[in-house]
């Protein structure tokens, strides 16, 4: 048995990740757009008793290293002596793909050419002479469709032949003609015109053009986009309510048994308090509030993503982002941010240029996530819709919520503009947005993948931080110094500051303790007001309204609470993600400081202005 190393390289959005997954069985997230793979991804497979380690390199247009991904790709190819490089090419866009192939082949002869998406190309009326292509490039050529798992065995066999030396690859005279310094395309273009022919009507292109007319035109593009977003969020918000309720009653039932069990084994009150009222309650809370909306939002989002619609949203909205020195794709990160800011921050990878990506990462928190939307809805219900339930109230709340989200979008644009003038100064990077053909999404596969990749991943991260947080919250409420709990000492200390910005000490403390999960903010406020040692859910808005009003809440408090909910530091999961994505503590601190400071200032100003009028 021998071990070999293989690298996958190619232009962005040619299906490298799909080929990678098909070869290795790993689950690297795929989507119909450019720039999915930023970091290198490694996996392995066995074939004929040989073990192959596969590295999925980020997509690159050329080896001249314009962007971060291209630098990674070039350095990997230069510094690692791979036994074989698999050049993944989009059979439908060979003209451009071949240029990259020629560039790579001129420095790396041990290669296999993988003509991916060949079924789509066939439907487009494109035919490729693979034997001739192989002869001209001096490397074996394999036609495959990674999505349909066609041609994979042949690809593996070709890789093995190249690795073991069964096939010796050689630079052909044509490849030697290519001069990397002048970066001339004549060689690639010659190969293209010799090997590729187009016959009949390009059906794929025609369908894409028809859809584009509908989805990007002035008359229909924007309304369809708004409707689609509205439907997505409505389905998430309404659809999540029921499973959320089931989950929380399930956890409640388990809690009763757990408490009984603790009583049975005579666990000291202090320990069972930390474990059950602290850790377990917080954890079950986070799961029941976060899991259902994410399990609905992300699969739906992934379907739209797979179909190729997302680049069109970026195309429609880029104008506004261009004015703020940002990238149109930021709009997509913002949509993901409404699902979950941590996902939104990870999603910023789709922006290829460093400067624009940093802007998107630093401003993502301005979009209120799933954990914060319920706070906004509760406050709106109680103080601006007159508690009364029914259609009128829910319409009022919806409109106000839309208003808040529009304000958040404007704030994001403003913050992006300010950032691009100060911290991330510099000329805007060249904007290039590929609009790939629309593809029919593979519904079941996409839904499962996105549930596993995104939903469970975020939930896992949230659980890791919620566990210690639950213990801390319980300790704060149950450890006494003198006659008052630690929590009360803190809220008393914070009260003057809280009052100054239109809130009170309890609310400020709740936001601080809610750092691991914003879902716990309202339960912590309730716990403090009721001076009870445990968090509990509210059974209705009337009860909550009475409690809050009895503790001095006014309309001013409600307004400031809304502002503070939108404008404060991101949750710990998001902060960890920002640290991971930017690799910089400075940027993580900035991402925390920018919203918090602006929130404090706006709250202070608003509360004092209202005070003048009332």
């Amino acid at each position: 048995m021998s071990r070999y190393t293989i690298a996958l390289a190619g232009n962005p959005n040619v299906g490298k990740s799909t080929v990678f997954n098909a070869l290795t069985g790993l689950k690297q997230h795929t989507g119909n757009w450019t720039g999915k793979t930023v970091e290198r991804c490694e996996g392995s497979f066995k074939y004929m008793q040989n073990e192959f380690t596969v590295t999925d390199l980020p997509g690159a247009y050329s080896l001249s290293a314009f962007s971060e991904e291209e630098t990674i790709t070039r350095d990997c190819l230069l510094n690692n002596n791979y036994d074989c490089v698999v050049l993944v090419l989009d059979s439908g866009a060979l003209r451009r793909n071949l240029r990259f192939a020629v560039q790579v082949l001129s420095m790396y002869e041990r290669a296999v050419i993988c003509l991916n998406l060949c079924d789509e190309a066939r439907r487009s009326g494109i035919s490729v002479d693979d034997k001739l292509l192989s002869a001209m490039l001096g490397a074996p050529v394999v036609k495959c469709s990674a999505v349909k798992k066609q041609g994979l065995r042949e690809l593996k066999a070709a890789c093995m032949d190249v690795c073991t030396g069964n096939i010796t690859c050689q630079k052909t005279a044509l490849i030697r003609e290519y001069d990397p310094i002048s970066d001339d395309n004549t060689v690639a273009d010659k190969i293209f015109t010799t090997c590729v022919s187009q016959s009949g009507i390009n059906k794929v292109r025609r369908r894409t053009e028809k859809l584009d007319k509908l989805l990007t035109s002035k008359a229909t593009g924007i309304p369809i986009m708004l409707l689609l977003c509205a439907a997505l969020f409505w389905l998430t918000a309404v659809g999540a309510n029921y499973p959320s309720e089931w989950l929380s009653s399930l956890f409640e039932a388990i809690k009763t048994y757990l408490s009984r069990f603790c009583g049975f084994i005579k666990l000291p009150h202090f320990i069972s308090g930390i474990l059950i009222d602290g850790v377990y309650t917080t954890l079950s809370w986070v799961v029941s509030v976060m899991l259902p909306p994410m399990a609905i939002f992300f699969p739906l989002f992934s379907l739209i993503e797979d179909a190729g619609y997302l680049p069109r949203i970026a195309f429609n909205l880029d104008r506004f982002f261009a004015k703020s020195g940002a990238h149109g794709k930021q709009s997509l990160c913002m949509m993901m941010g409404i699902g979950c800011n941590a996902c939104g921050v990870t999603g910023c990878r789709i922006i290829e240029t460093k400067r624009e990506r940093l802007i998107a990462v630093l401003t993502n928190n301005f979009m209120p996530c799933n954990g914060r939307l319920p706070i906004l809805i509760a406050i709106l219900m109680m103080y601006f819709a007159g508690v009364s339930s029914g259609i009128i109230a829910s319409v009022k709340v919806t409109l106000l919520l839309v208003f808040i989200i529009v304000m958040c979008v404007l704030l994001t644009l403003l913050a992006s503009k300010l950032l691009s003038m100060t911290i991330v100064k510099g000329a805007p990077s060249g904007f290039v947005l590929e609009l790939p053909p629309y593809r029919k999404p593979q519904i079941i596969k996409t839904v499962c993948r996105s549930f596993l990749d995104r939903t469970l991943f975020v939930l896992g991260r949230a659980a890791i931080v919620a566990t210690p947080a639950g213990a801390v919250i319980w300790l704060c409420a149950n450890v006494y110094i003198g006659n008052t709990s630690v929590l009360e000492h803190c809220t008393d200390f914070l009260d003057p500051f809280g009052k100054f910005i239109g809130l009170d000490g309890v609310i400020v403390m709740a936001f601080i303790l809610g750092f691991p999960a914003n879902e716990t903010v309202i339960p912590i406020i309730m716990m403090s007001y009721m001076a009870s040692g445990t968090m509990c859910d509210y059974s209705g808005y009337e009860q909550l309204y009475a409690l809050f009003t009895a503790n001095g809440w006014t309309v001013t408090t409600a307004v400031c609470m809304i502002i503070m909910t939108v404008l404060h530091f991101p949750c710990s999961t998001t902060c960890l993600t920002i640290k991971k994505e930017t690799g910089s503590i400075k940027h993580t601190v900035l991402a925390m400081a920018i919203p918090t400071i602006s929130g404090i200032i706006i709250c202070a100003v608003v509360s004092h202005i209202i005070a003048v009028f009332i």
Binding site: Y61, S67, R95, K213, S217, I222, A322, V432
Partner: protein, 79 residues
């Protein structure tokens, strides 16, 4: 015959051949890497609802470019 205009002045549904680049900077480099090079045929497809960016077909792929970048690309339009 044909005249040399800026790519941003090319009207939707018309074809041109890329003639030259009015500037050499990072963003022009980026555009070139995508295969938008001298002698290449380019078709202006449609504009975004807010009139910028614009989608072009070049090299068999559809790409959107901003007006600010298209100003630096000179093309020879077909009559």
């Amino acid at each position: 015959m044909s005249s040399i205009i800026r790519l941003c002045d090319l009207a939707p549904n018309s074809k041109a051949v890329i003639h030259s680049f009015a500037a050499e900077n990072a963003s022009v480099k980026r555009v070139k890497d995508l295969g938008i090079a001298q002698g290449e045929e380019i078709v202006c497809l449609f504009r975004s609802p807010f009139s910028d960016p614009t989608a072009y077909r070049v090299n068999g792929v559809t790409v959107a470019l901003r007006k600010s970048d298209c100003e630096k690309i000179l093309v020879k339009a077909y009559e």
